[in-house]
Amino acid sequence: MTSAAAPLAAGRFSPDNQAHPTSGGTRPVLEVDHVTKVYPSQPPVTALQDVSFTVTGGELLAIVGPSGSGKSTLLHLMGTLDRPSAGHVRITGVDVASLSDRDLAALRATRIGFVFQQFFLAEHQTVVDNVADGLLYASVPLTQRRARALQALELVGLAERPWARPTQLSGGQRQRVAIARALVGQPAIVLADEPTGNLDQTTGGSILTLFDQLHHQKVTIAVITHDQTIAARMPRRIEMLDGRIVADTTDPGPGEPDGHGQPAPPGQQP
């Protein structure tokens, strides 16, 4: 599998090889290992029950399930915003349980990108500064943050209007800005929570197309959705019900029938 390292490194926004030395297509960027989450409410709610799966670098997957199936809880655990009651979550091999709150923040700043249904853009800031804020907590100077933000905007097809305000943009464009903000730090994984939930079907479709393009550039993306038709477009689907995984299916890749391979991006084939 060593040959797979070449296209990985070639992708501009692929995860940084040096920081976490597991390499190649088998490199796990996220491991959810027998995770259980019990909310200490009255009565206690078991939102996740013994959930295990691994996300490999460059994967595009959907976590799909009806309301109340535990998707948001899982997103919080994958994003290190919360800790499991039992089991382990590892981001690029680092066990979340072993890290302090500050360490977790640093991990999020550098290795995890979030995309939300509500976009969460700052209306008083320009598009480029919204994107640059993706690096605010990663010790990057402002000029460099902006320069990288412009590159990230190019990646999501919004390079023409970097100085516009979010209020001057359409919903789809706003979500692209939010995606650029998630990408600007070149994270190991992007977690998108119902990214098309606030968009009409056509606009939502174009966002999914953008995810496909990013997938071809080896960006690792997990899309959390309740919508089976969205999930159906993804190469891998983890289906949730009542806090458990009921199915984890991967379509066979074009070149690698086992589905776990890393197809080279079309544009980079010789």
Binding site: A105, A106, R108, L142, D193
Partner: protein, 400 residues
């Protein structure tokens, strides 16, 4: 996996702290302005009180240096038996022989009352005194006539009177008109002038001055001076002070009181802060109200900005980053109020001091103290909301 794989902790640069701290001010200008108003008023009050008292003592000190500190007054004291003593009639002439004395003037109490006209009941004396006055008195006291003229060698022999400003007011005389006269001990005296205030000798303000010869001729004045005004060379004032009593009354020097009127003025300039306490207290109350206002707005802001806080945590902000953001925002808010307050305080001091012809003096402690107070208030008011914001769980912020 080794510990080396854990990324380095992110640090916010001061400029970035400034950027995130100013979000509240930039996005909610009206609210920020209103909540900083209390602090602005409090700081303005404190700066203005300190500025005004400094400016007014500066004004008083300027007045003192104009009036000169080399004036000494000689007055009769009391005898060992507790009776009122007298100064010898020859005292002015003897004092004049002291070397460093540059000028000497005197007044003598005339034991009569003054009235607007003969029909006023005699008990309504208006606390006015009639004094025989020497001809160079005004120059010695550094005052002047407001209207009319002062006594001259001719009018000093006539039934002519010059009124101190308070005396004129109490007699109901507003100006010097042809034939204007007052009733002194069963006879008319013509009013020829009204004086400006004499800061160094406030008793002159409520006096009616007549010439020595006229006082003796018309009013039965005994010729004993009751106040001798002595100007000495400034560097010799203390020496002259020491010998004045014995010179004025060689037989009973202990029956003579010698004083330096400017000393009382200097003391007054120093004690200018007497009325400050109340206003400083009011300023402090305004500051307290301002602090509560800022704390209140910060608490609301933290609640309203849950999703922003959650987003920042997701972007990699630590609890410390959130804490410093909201703490700095409160400090910035209070500092903005403090800056406006200092400006207002200085402006009002400048306006008032200008109308009073004082030099504008803003003590450094006033504006540094105002800014420092705002800073501390911001920190205190912002502390709890900031801690609360930092404590918020990142998941709490996201609607699920």
């Amino acid at each position: 996996m080794t510990a080396a794989a854990i990324p380095l902790h992110g640090r916010l640069r001061p400029s970035d702290v400034g950027r995130v701290a100013s979000i509240g001010l930039r996005t909610r200008k009206l609210r920020a302005g209103l909540s900083a108003l209390g602090i602005a008023i409090g700081v303005a009050a404190i700066v203005a009180v300190l500025g005004l008292s400094s400016s007014s003592s500066a004004g008083l000190l300027a007045e003192i240096s104009r009036l000169g500190t080399n004036l000494l007054t000689v007055q009769p004291g009391t005898t060992v038996f507790g009776k009122n003593a007298e100064l010898p009639t020859g005292a002015p002439a003897m004092i004049a022989r002291i070397g460093p004395v540059t000028s000497i003037e005197d007044t003598g109490n005339v034991n009569v009352n003054a009235y607007r006209n003969p029909y006023i009941p005699t008990i309504q004396t208006n606390a006015l005194s009639v004094q025989a006055a020497s001809l160079g008195l005004l120059a010695d006291l550094r005052t002047s006539v407001a209207q009319g003229v002062y006594l001259n060698p001719a009018t000093a022999r006539e039934p002519a009177a010059v009124l101190g400003p308070a005396a004129a007011q109490r007699l109901g005389i507003e100006g010097v008109y042809q034939g204007e006269r007052i009733w002194l001990d069963k006879q008319w005296f013509y009013v020829i002038g009204i004086l400006n205030p004499a800061t160094l000798a406030p008793n002159i303000d409520s006096s009616i001055l007549v010439g020595f010869p006229a006082a003796q001729h018309y009013l039965g004045f005994d010729g004993h001076p009751t106040t001798i005004y002595v100007r000495a060379q400034t560097n010799q004032v203390n020496a002259v002070h020491g010998v004045l009593a014995a010179t004025a009354n060689p037989e009973n020097p202990n029956e003579v009181n010698v004083s330096q009127p400017s000393a009382a003025l200097v003391a007054r300039a120093d004690a200018q802060s007497a009325f400050n306490g109340l206003f400083l207290g009011l300023g402090a109350v305004a500051l307290l109200v301002g602090a509560v206002g800022v704390a209140n707005i910060m608490v609301i802001s933290v609640l309203e900005r849950r999703s922003e806080i959650g987003l920042r945590r997701a972007l990699g902000a630590t609890k410390g980053h959130i804490r410093i953001q909201f703490l700095s925002e409160a400090i910035l808010l209070a500092l903005a109020g403090g800056t406006v307050g200092v400006t207002l305080g200085i402006l009002s001091t400048a306006v008032y001091a200008t109308t009073k012809h004082w030099a504008i003096v803003i003590p450094t402690i006033a504006w540094t103290g105002g800014i420092a107070a705002a800073l501390i208030i911001g920190a205190i008011a912002g502390l709890l909301p900031a801690l609360r914001a930092a404590r918020m769980s990142p998941t709490e912020a996201f609607p699920v």
